[in-house]
């Protein structure tokens, strides 16, 4: 489609070049990028600081306007003398105006110079501060990585010490010949198992509701690489097995753990892999770095403070690096939950304050610990914010906010 009568133009070569140009174009989306560049170019002031300085020099040269007669170069000889004389007369008469004007000029010029110097200093300082901030930012990043590493190390050491102490204690007791006391773990409510199942069905909401709520955790599992072979997920207090069911559907490897014999049976009937055991003894039986994730929904509010700490410690130990642990529990920030609904379950011990929960996990060795607030009241359950909007908003904030929360933490 191209033609030229220029003998130097090799048309085949030119067409090749065009083809190459088109292929290069397809690979990059340079258009958009270049357009931004052209806008930047327009913004850039072509004359920089140096120019501003020399412009002020010109102003300075003219600051004494009207003080002297010009050299009248365009006149010659006698004409020049006459012109200079007339000029002098004019200058003399004009002093009424020129003297205040000159004062004004110098004042303005002086102010401009001071301002310019100030702006230059500020610019320099800003650049300096920016650089420092960047440096501090980088240092912080390095430090926080170091802290994560140290935390893991510290927890391992603590654990080793406590094992040693335990062994020591046992040896001492053995020598004394007294019998080993049963450890005060989660103690049985075996007889009440069926009762609790009935209770759950009545109060926790239907299976479908629960499933819907749990689905949102799937991405967290996938991001942490949990559920893959070698990175199994363990759900502590799996209850009716809603979460296990979801993971089965999602092809994630997972097993459950519950104390309630009836619930365990129900889950097994559904083909879910569930172990009947209490949480701490099971976790203690697992080797280090063996799990991809540990989940537990509405369990920790059933545990004593000591057990909770033990649960966190064991979780950190058995998780593989990068593994995730999440614990969902009722949110006492919601006044209705904290004051009332929480107590609907007679086996609940006490509500857990979210930040405390987060703090504990961080201090027992988890990293990147975050709070997720879930399940607020929506739609008609909220007070309409039409009539007394401020009051309604405030009430909604304390009565209709998230009913549950989850603490998520990772092993470094």
């Amino acid at each position: 489609m191209l033609e030229s009568r220029n003998p130097d133009i090799d048309m085949a070569q030119l067409l090749d070049k065009i083809g190459l140009e088109l292929r290069l174009q397809q690979k990059s989306i340079a258009g958009g990028r270049n357009r931004v560049a052209s806008e930047e170019l327009a913004i850039n002031d072509p004359y920089s600081w140096g120019q501003l300085g020399s412009t002020l020099n010109v102003a300075e040269q003219n600051v004494n306007a009207g003080a002297e007669v010009t050299s009248m170069l365009h006149y010659r000889g006698i004409m020049r003398k006459i012109a200079r004389f007339l000029g002098k007369v004019t200058v003399f008469l004009g002093r009424v105006i020129t003297i205040p004007q000159r004062n004004f000029n110098s004042a303005i010029l002086q102010s401009l110079r001071i301002t310019l110097d100030g702006v230059r200093d500020m610019n320099r300082n800003t650049a300096l501060v920016e650089r420092q901030v960047r440096q501090i930012d980088e240092q912080l990043k390095k430090k926080s990585a170091l802290i994560d590493y140290l935390k893991t190390g510290l927890i391992t050491q603590e654990r080793r010490v406590s094992i040693l102490l335990e062994e020591l204690r046992r040896e001492v007791t053995a020598k004394d010949g007294s019998q080993e006391a049963p450890s005060p773990h989660l103690t049985g409510l075996d007889i009440l198992d069926p009762l609790y199942l009935a209770f759950e069905n009545q109060f926790r909401g239907t299976r479908e509701e629960i499933r819907d709520r749990l689905l949102q955790y799937v991405p967290l599992m996938r991001e942490a690489g949990a559920g893959a072979p070698g990175r199994e997920i363990l759900d502590i207090g799996c209850g009716r097995g809603e979460w296990l069911g979801i993971m089965q559907d999602e092809d994630l490897l997972a097993s459950g753990l519950d104390l309630n014999h009836v619930l365990v049976q129900e889950c097994r009937e559904k083909g879910l892999k569930v172990i009947e055991n209490d949480a701490l003894s099971h976790l203690r039986s697992l080797p280090e770095n063996s799990l991809g994730a540990i989940t537990s929904f509405h369990l920790i509010e059933h545990l004593s403070f000591d057990d909770r700490i033990a649960l966190f410690d064991e979780s950190v130990r058995v998780l593989k690096p990068g593994g995730v642990a999440l614990f969902e529990t009722p949110n006492p920030r919601n006044l209705l939950v904290g004051a009332c609904n929480f107590w609907a379950d007679p086996t609940h011990l006490r509500p857990l304050y979210p930040e405390t929960h987060q703090f504990l996990m961080e201090y027992r060795g988890f990293c990147k610990v975050e709070l997720l607030f879930l399940h607020p009241h929506e739609g008609e359950q909220r007070l309409p914010e039409t009539e007394a909007p401020q009051l309604a908003a405030r009430l909604n904030e304390i009565l209709s906010c998230a009913r549950d929360y989850t603490v998520v933490g990772y092993k470094a």
Partner: protein
């Protein structure tokens, strides 16, 4: 013959400075050839002294056979000058733009007024102009030249010794460059710089005379074999000669050599550096020898035996050392971005260009593997070039011919034109400033007058500013029955009946009528006028045995209308039209870092600006950073303009398409100067004057193949036959703007093509045409 005067602020044999040395050499050498030469200068002794002191006595003196007249300098205010000077020097060089005055706030006037000036010299020039054959002013940036030249502009030759520095952008410099009769350049690079700064208007009055190098005068003496302990005959080395300095890029060369040695550790090729300068280079690099300043014989010896000379500096205005290397048949390598040296090497074909460190490193490798015979072959080409531009004899020959000092030229000037009692008038429908057809009629008139005819231009409509060039046509008043008549036909002329009835000898020149069907949809009224114009052509045919069209394409219309064997008389296009100031506002606006694509032509549907906008939008999407400039008249109500505006709005490129409207020549000058590509999608051009104008501005022309366009373009430009594939067109446009190889080839083709339309070429055809009229 009257003497030739050299005008320069300072004159003397031992003055430092390129221009001062040049003036001394040239004036003396011309005087030795027997020409009457005078030097007009000031009583100030040198550049380094106070410019308002008269160190030397005023008056005439003989100096080595030259008559030197000295004039007193004016008093001046040195402080003001220094302030203005430092103001200008504070501007970063990368902010300088052609056509934009950097000396703002009156600093330019101060710079000129408080420069070295001599009213006495100016007065002498004014009153004694007739006594001289010609004046040569040099260099460009002093008051004596800036203020003196305008007094004798029509006899003045300017030897600017131009550099790319802030002073070159001073409007007073542009003023003397435009005003002088001829310009003498020292190098091709300087000529190119002037073209870049002032446009093609000054192109044809410039001549590269070159600068002689004294070593060519010396008979080759015995040169030392050893320099600084190195046996030159045994060594193989690259030489870098000249100031050793950061600004001269010496460090880059050393780095490149280091890289070369890293890749080729076995190489025996050395790098020898010599010249003045404080810093020491390459002390830690094996194979590099920095000799510092060397004696003249040592320098000659180094040059004569080097493998090649490498000159990596980016800011050279004229490199003497290159010429010296060529004198010894040695090839040279120079920095590809240094205008002066790169153009010399390119023109001589005796060496290589390099830019990056890798380029230089590669060059080391390349020459180390070249045979001596090959190097010698290249060097000989250089010697050939140096003979032409650096041997004083050849240089002085060129001065003689430019200044009109050859005896043959003098004879020619004295030839008188014969006079004839005959009259040939021209009749043209409209006459306006800057219009190509109006210009054509003026050229024809001048030619007729030169040939001794009486001749005037009559027109129906005249631009008020042009009344001194043409007369208004009123019922044939002033045109006698027996005079010859050339009738220029285009549309809507009420002249048809008059010319048919004119009894004297007559001829017709046809300037094309747009086919009515192309514009009927957009403008039915115009279509009717065009139809009438074509019908008139049929009526005219039997009465005009002699006829011509602008192009072969136009002649087809004539033949179809019944004209017998029309001839082709192309429109004259000379770059001198652009020897006018450029619109500074437009220059500022268009030189903002974006590429500019230009089309010049009225906004009418058959010129297909709508297709161009579509193609441009595609280009913009692919590459960005570009602007489309559409120059051409439009009336706000005209529906085609409105539809174009709408099209641009829908495409969302309002900020990227600039409708310049009908513009003055100064603004059009700015558009051409700032453009990077001339792109036409037009489907009807009777001739296409802007295509050739674009060639003079060194814009690659990219045009749709239609009507007379291929005929006008000839071997210039690049044609396309398909408007549909916008992506391919955009890619081709990109190459034309940014691929040095493609662009270079297109431009060199265009440089040839544009010559075809120069008045002196067209004149031969005009001559023949007028003879055919048998007046």
């Amino acid at each position: 013959m009257n003497p030739v005067a050299f005008v320069i602020p300072w004159f003397g044999q031992n003055l430092k400075g390129g221009a001062e040395q040049l003036a001394w050499q040239v004036s003396n050498r011309l005087a030795k050839r027997g020409h009457k030469i005078e030097v007009l200068t000031t009583c100030c002794s040198s550049f380094l002294e106070d410019w308002s002191s008269n160190h030397l006595p005023s008056g005439a003196e003989m100096l080595d056979g030259l008559l030197v007249r000295r004039f007193k300098v004016d008093k001046r205010n040195g402080d003001l000058f220094n302030q203005a000077n430092s103001y200008a020097l504070a501007i970063p060089p990368e902010n300088l733009r052609a056509g934009i005055n950097p000396f703002t706030f009156g600093t330019g006037e101060l710079f000129v007024a408080e420069n070295i000036n001599s009213l006495a010299l100016e007065r002498y020039l004014k009153w004694n102009k007739k006594r001289y054959h010609a004046f040569v002013f040099l260099p460009y940036l002093y008051g004596v030249v800036l203020n003196g030249l305008p007094h004798v502009a029509d006899k003045s030759f300017l030897q600017p010794c131009l550099h790319d520095e802030v002073y070159a952008y001073l409007p007073e410099v542009e003023n003397i460059m435009r005003g002088c009769r001829g310009i003498l350049y020292n190098s091709l690079g300087e000529e190119r710089l002037a073209h870049n700064l002032f446009g093609p208007g000054i192109d044809r009055k410039g001549e590269v005379v070159g600068v002689g190098v004294e070593s060519f005068d010396l008979t080759q003496q015995e040169l030392p074999r050893q320099v600084a302990g190195l046996d030159l005959a045994e060594e193989k080395y690259v030489l870098c000669l000249g100031r050793r300095d950061k600004t001269k890029n010496t460090a880059l060369l050393v780095e490149a050599y280091q890289e070369y040695r890293k890749n080729h550790p076995e190489s025996r090729l050395k790098l020898i550096i010599a010249g003045p300068g404080e810093e020491q280079f390459g002390a830690s690099v094996p194979g590099v020898y920095d000799l510092g300043l060397v004696s003249e014989p040592d320098k000659e010896a180094l040059l004569s035996r080097c493998t090649a000379l490498f000159q990596p500096s980016r800011n050279e205005s004229y490199s003497r050392v290159i010429m010296e290397a060529w004198f010894y048949n040695r090839p040279v390598a120079v920095h590809g971005e240094c205008l002066a040296t790169a153009m010399a090497v390119d023109a001589a074909g005796s060496g290589w260009l390099a830019v990056s460190r890798e380029d230089w490193a590669h060059l080391f490798h390349r020459i180390s593997s070249m045979e001596e015979s090959e190097l010698l072959g290249l060097g000989e080409k250089g010697r050939e070039y140096a003979r032409q531009y650096a041997e004083w004899d050849a240089v002085i020959d060129r001065y003689e011919s430019v200044l009109g000092l050859r005896s043959a030229q003098i004879l020619k000037e004295k030839t008188q034109h014969r006079t004839s009692p005959w009259t040939i008038h021209q009749l043209v429908p409209g006459f306006a400033h800057g219009d190509a057809i109006s210009n054509q009629t003026m050229i024809i008139r001048d030619l007729l007058k030169q040939k001794g005819y009486k001749s005037e231009i009559f027109t129906e409509h005249i631009d008020p500013s042009m009344t001194h060039e043409a007369r208004l046509f009123k019922d044939g008043k002033g045109i006698k029955a027996d005079v010859g008549l050339i009738y220029h036909h285009s549309i809507g002329a009420g002249l048809t009946d008059f010319v048919i009835n004119h009894p004297g000898p007559k001829s017709l020149i046809y300037h094309n009528i747009t086919p009515p069907e192309l514009v009927r949809d957009a403008d039915p009224e115009l279509a009717l006028k065009l139809e009438q114009g074509l019908k008139d052509l049929n009526r005219l045919a039997p009465y005009f045995p002699v006829s011509a069209g602008d192009s072969r394409f136009n002649c087809r219309d004539l033949e179809e209308s019944g004209f017998a064997s029309p001839s082709v008389l192309p429109i004259c296009i000379a770059p001198e039209k652009w020897n006018i100031p450029v619109d500074a506002n437009m220059m500022t606006r268009l030189q903002d870092g974006r590429d500019n694509i230009l089309f010049v032509g009225r906004l009418v549907a058959n010129k297909c600006q709508h297709d161009l906008i579509d193609a441009f939008a595609e280009y913009l999407a692919m590459y960005g950073n570009c602007r489309l400039i559409l120059v051409g008249g439009f009336i706000e109500q005209e529906s085609y303009y409105q539809s174009l505006k709408e099209q641009v709005r829908i495409l969302g490129i309002e900020g990227d398409v600039f409708f310049a409207g009908k513009v003055t020549d100064n603004t059009l000058h700015a558009c051409y100067r700032c453009a990077d590509l001339f792109w036409s999608m037009s489907e009807h051009e009777g001739f296409g004057v802007p295509l050739i104008e674009a060639m003079w501005f060194d814009l690659p022309v990219f045009a749709y193949k239609s009507s007379a366009i291929p005929e006008t373009l000839g071997e210039g430009g690049l044609l396309f036959t398909d408007k549909q594939n916008l992506k391919e067109l955009a890619a081709a446009a990109r190459l034309l703007m940014h691929d040095p190889d493609v662009r270079g080839k297109i431009l060199s083709g265009q440089k040839q093509r544009r010559k075809v339309f120069l008045p002196e070429v067209i004149r031969l055809k005009l001559d023949e045409f007028i003879r055919g009229m048998n007046v």
